[in-house]
Symmetry: C2
Subunit: 488 residues, 2 copies
């Protein structure tokens, strides 16, 4: 690894791309959607092929014992208002690979992205990392094709590692699930498959401004790319900003890059030299204290021992219809490693909201980060967005007991909204799940004083915590990936 | 937190202490040993008071369900040569506090240390942190006295936090056990109890040069203190070294401070600006890859289902007499929260070895760090010393199959040995356990090329990984605490 920060910034500021001109991307994606036949239909559990409820436990498992299982957990905690409960959860102890190949062409880094079908995807095909594979995939349990380009990630001699970190998945749905988020640079010539294309980071960032185009796996990998360290760590604000911006202007080939005040703020916040409200050691101490105080005991139990959940022929549902349900689906897709299969999927009750509130403090943009305990967390507490309501039915809750800052975010004036899209969760496990992703700049009146479970952090601090695994949760990471350093 | 690095360095270089002159410390410690009556005797399990074998599981538990339990684990892994085994393990899900209070007196930081009796201690009394308490201690399950000075750690308003990190304990003996390692600075006048004294870091470092004086809990807390960051991060080597050293000389009150070449090397290695063989991101990638490749499945099982271990009236032993045994002891100690009690203790088979090999590479001292999988690890792999043989009977193993680098360390010439002491493990759980702690400087011929599970790191990189929890294991941390920046 060498000095990637400026290179990444340059790619993020570049939209000109002779390999895939921006105006040709959506037609290309449409072609990919039309090139393959995809169907998905909900079926009864008994019609699942190769999946069955284990007689002794009631767990929903694959006949090989691989992929994932729907099991139960029993939770006891002193965090929040529910002291103990049981729930179904996805248990998938394997670490998967979410990998992006990048390549330098005439000084600019390009990302090899895949138009990938997942059964739960809205629009069926979204833009995914180069490789997205569970261990069961690439050890070929299902006897299908090996994922393309996988060999670059398994054989380190063919590439240079840029990012390589284990990152968590949704703690409310998965039990301590983690994936390897990896970005590698290659120099080889590489044959670009029909479902693949090279994009600049700037193009990808623009596509995240649209609903449900860039899938969750791509967003989490992108969030691990550091902008503020290595190579620009010793520069002053002004110098770093102007160097990045002049680099950006050079690569627009004629078009004018307009940097609004927010982008400049954002960039400053990404630099290591940014002055922060809290020292990193103080944030670690805050986190240590929360892990010390909150007890989270999670015990795996047989699915049939889960209380308050009911199994019908077609779904496992909460008795009051809350949270999510588990259903079964049959999928046909001629573009995947195996052409047809059936599998369980998790279907959310309704859309959720994930939001960051940001605010310039002492001239540097800060993010209001929430410490959140979730049952499936690897280490009790993770750093979450300011607002994260995924599984609840927050609309029906009276204002007085709604999550902190939710109303502030939903009632933000248009000029405060820095980002607002609908983004999908992982389509391999979740059926048509999308959540409102929103970044709101606080107004002057918004207090700098933090509630107990919240801390203001710079983007550089967040990116540093992302570098060490198990700090920043998947919702926060994916929302950070929506940040764009150019905004016209 | 503000700029502590130079302050810590200054304290580490200071031996002059009007509060506890160096030549009075050992007599004082002897007084403390003699001031109290301590007895420990091994008893039969049936004579344990308040501890019993649970009928259904065979687990050895306290009647309140608190403190700790001796349970079983079943382990499956693809690391090492044993693919599956079961063993007894200490299960103690509570996070304890290991806390040191420091105070600035005429510009120098002093550490409040406690002469503390633990039943398993060699010499019965060793020097401990100010507070060493499990949650059961300070929620007073045993209805004894509250640990002294605890209130400073529970009420943040009375102190300034210097270090506050969760750190792991022995992965071969404890199941995912962690403690809060915390150092706080106070300004209050504080009444110093009879068993307590103020020492400079330099005095403590000198005491670590003697066998079994500074207990394990103190050593792990001391290892968390950063020397190379904050306040000196932007200085050049020469400037930082000479500033620290001239500060050291000022505070010896007449005595000459001699810095040998190794101390200067060590100090350079502690600085953030030290040039390292591997970028930190590359080390994280190496660790990610190991966590990805090594499967470690650990399941809690009833103690009575553990294979190859036998329970007698007096001990739980491995059928071949290997590893360790679990025994019962009755303790009387008038200096503790409760005057008499009985408890299980873990008794090691024999002494072990922990060793770092260090080597200057490109002018900067590097430590050869081992990635080690242990069953009780919180996250599969932790960074261990170059050599760590605790539970094995390494002397009986033929040379060809002995752990890497063990022979090199044991056969090092005297002029290569930078540190060599016997140090104790935690006397609250382990009976008379001591291990050889040794730091060896590699000779010219020692290869820079690393085996797969080893990486060269600077002291600054190690201290950075210590800052984020669950990277550096307790043996490595304690061995690092033995490093002294002055060496006459």
């Amino acid at each position: 690894m060498s000095f990637y920060s400026l290179d990444m910034m340059l790619s993020a500021l570049t939209e000109y791309n002779p390999l895939m001109p921006t105006d040709q991307f959506m037609p290309w994606l449409r072609t990919r959607r039309e090139a393959h036949r995809f169907t998905i239909e909900q079926i009864r559990f008994r019609d699942l092929k190769d999946w069955f409820f284990e007689p002794s436990s009631g767990n929903l498992s694959h006949c090989t014992g691989r992929f994932f299982k729907i099991e139960g957990i029993w939770v006891e905690t002193n965090y929040g208002c529910t002291a103990r409960w049981s729930q179904p959860i996805i248990h998938q102890p394997e670490i998967g690979i979410l990998g992006i190949i990048i390549k330098r062409v005439r000084g600019v880094l390009y990302f090899l992205m895949q138009a990938k079908m997942e059964p739960g995807n809205l629009n069926m095909v979204q833009l995914a990392p180069t490789v997205q594979a569970t261990r069961s995939n690439f050890t070929q349990v299902h006897k299908g094709l090996k994922p393309r380009y996988l060999e670059y990630f398994l054989d380190g001699s063919r590439s240079r590692v840029v990012v390589d970190i284990l990152q968590s998945e949704q703690g409310a749905r998965f039990l301590r699930k983690r994936n390897r988020n990896i970005v590698i640079e290659i120099e080889d010539e590489i044959k670009v498959g029909d479902d693949f294309c090279w994009l600049t980071l700037g193009q990808i960032k623009n596509l995240i401004l649209m609903d449900n185009i860039i899938n969750m796996d791509a967003r989490t990998v992108l969030s691990c790319i550091p902008f503020g360290d290595r190579g620009i760590e010793n520069m002053e604000y002004g110098e770093a900003v102007s160097r990045a911006m002049s680099a950006g202007s050079r690569h627009t080939e004629g078009a004018t890059v307009v940097y609004n005040a927010f982008c400049v703020q954002l960039f400053k916040s990404a630099l290591r030299t940014a002055v922060s409200v809290h020292a990193t050691e103080d944030i670690i101490s805050w986190f240590t204290d929360l892990k010390f105080r909150y007890i989270l005991e999670v015990e795996r139990i047989p699915l049939k021992h889960v209380h308050e959940w009911v199994k019908t022929d077609e779904a496992i549902v909460h008795r009051d219809g809350r949270y999510f349900s588990v259903i079964a689906a049959r999928v046909e897709a001629d573009s995947r490693e195996v052409p047809a299969w059936s599998q369980p999927l998790v279907k959310p009750r309704e859309e959720g909201v994930v939001a960051f509130i940001v605010k310039p403090i002492d001239g540097v943009l800060h993010f209001l980060v929430q410490a959140k305990v979730e049952a499936g967390n690897f280490d009790v507490v993770e750093m979450a967005p300011t607002v994260q309501c995924l599984t609840g039915s927050y609309r029906q809750v009276p204002h007085s007991s709604r999550p902190p800052f939710l109303d502030y975010v939903l009632q933000a004036r248009p000029e405060q909204v820095r980002h607002r899209t609908m983004q999908s969760e992982e389509g391999g496990r979740f059926l048509n799940e999308q959540n409102l992703n929103i970044i709101v700049e606080a107004d002057e009146a918004f207090p700098e004083q933090e509630p107990e479970h919240y801390r203001w952090m710079t983007l550089n601090q967040l990116q540093n915590f992302i570098k060490y695994n198990n700090f920043v949760n998947v919702q926060a990471r994916c929302l950070l990936s929506c940040l764009s350093f150019r905004n016209e």
